[in-house]
């Protein structure tokens, strides 16, 4: 069987809805045997601070107050946090999560400030070297 194409996601947005969407995509790809390559930039990187990863990061502006309430209710019902989904993805597949070196510099972060799920800090060229297929920007 030909090797399935890598799923390469750039996570830019740090709101919980977008992070959850990304985590679900990563889990599905990992389940189906695809390598997953996540690159954390800007507000997504900020959301991976170890002291704040499970805090409320809000939702996209397009949600509006009604959408935000709907998502809050959905989370309470399922009890599922996107962090858990990502951890499951890592448990079942080949999922690497790297922080963008430039964003680390902007936010004055070191690797030890981030959740242990983050494998390392890489430059953009290293990410591109791994991302042999299309890249999705969330």
């Amino acid at each position: 069987m030909a090797e399935a194409e890598t799923l390469s996601l750039v996570l830019f947005s740090g709101t919980d809805d977008r992070l959850e969407a990304a985590a679900v995509l990563a889990a599905g790809a990992a389940a189906m045997g695809r390598k997953v390559n996540l690159f954390l930039q800007y507000w997504a990187l900020d959301a991976f601070r170890k002291d704040a990863i499970r805090k409320d990061h809000g939702v996209s502006a397009e949600a509006g107050p009604e959408g935000a309430a709907l998502l809050r209710k959905a989370r309470e019902t399922s009890g599922q946090h996107w962090v858990d989904v990502l951890e499951q993805a890592r448990a079942i597949g080949d999922v690497s999560i790297n922080a963008c070196a430039l964003s680390m510099q902007h936010f004055e972060l070191a690797l030890e400030d981030l959740d242990p799920m983050v494998d390392g800090v890489t430059g953009v060229a290293a990410f591109m070297g791994e991302a042999t297929g299309p890249i999705t920007f969330i």
Partner: protein
């Protein structure tokens, strides 16, 4: 339900997509070849995801039983 021996039952009802599939994958990994595992799921996504994963991972979907508000997926670990 027939008389086949169920090695493990996972009650994933109430879990959101892709939770039930993730639980199944974990159970299959922990189980022995030939084990029959059943997953109860109320997640609509499971109806496509569990068969797709079983096909990809070369296990056997023994049957899917539709119950009231959930489905029961009976899976045999084939390798």
């Amino acid at each position: 339900m027939s008389t086949r021996e169920i090695a493990r039952t996972i009650d994933a009802r109430g879990m959101a997509c892709p939770g039930p599939l993730m639980s199944l994958i974990g159970a299959i990994r922990e189980g022995a070849v030939g084990d029959v595992i059943e997953v109860l799921s109320s997640d609509e996504g499971s109806k496509t995801d569990i068969p797709a994963w079983i096909k990809k991972a070369s296990h056997e979907l023994v049957e899917v039983v539709e119950e009231d508000g959930f489905a029961c997926f009976v899976v045999r670990k084939a390798r």
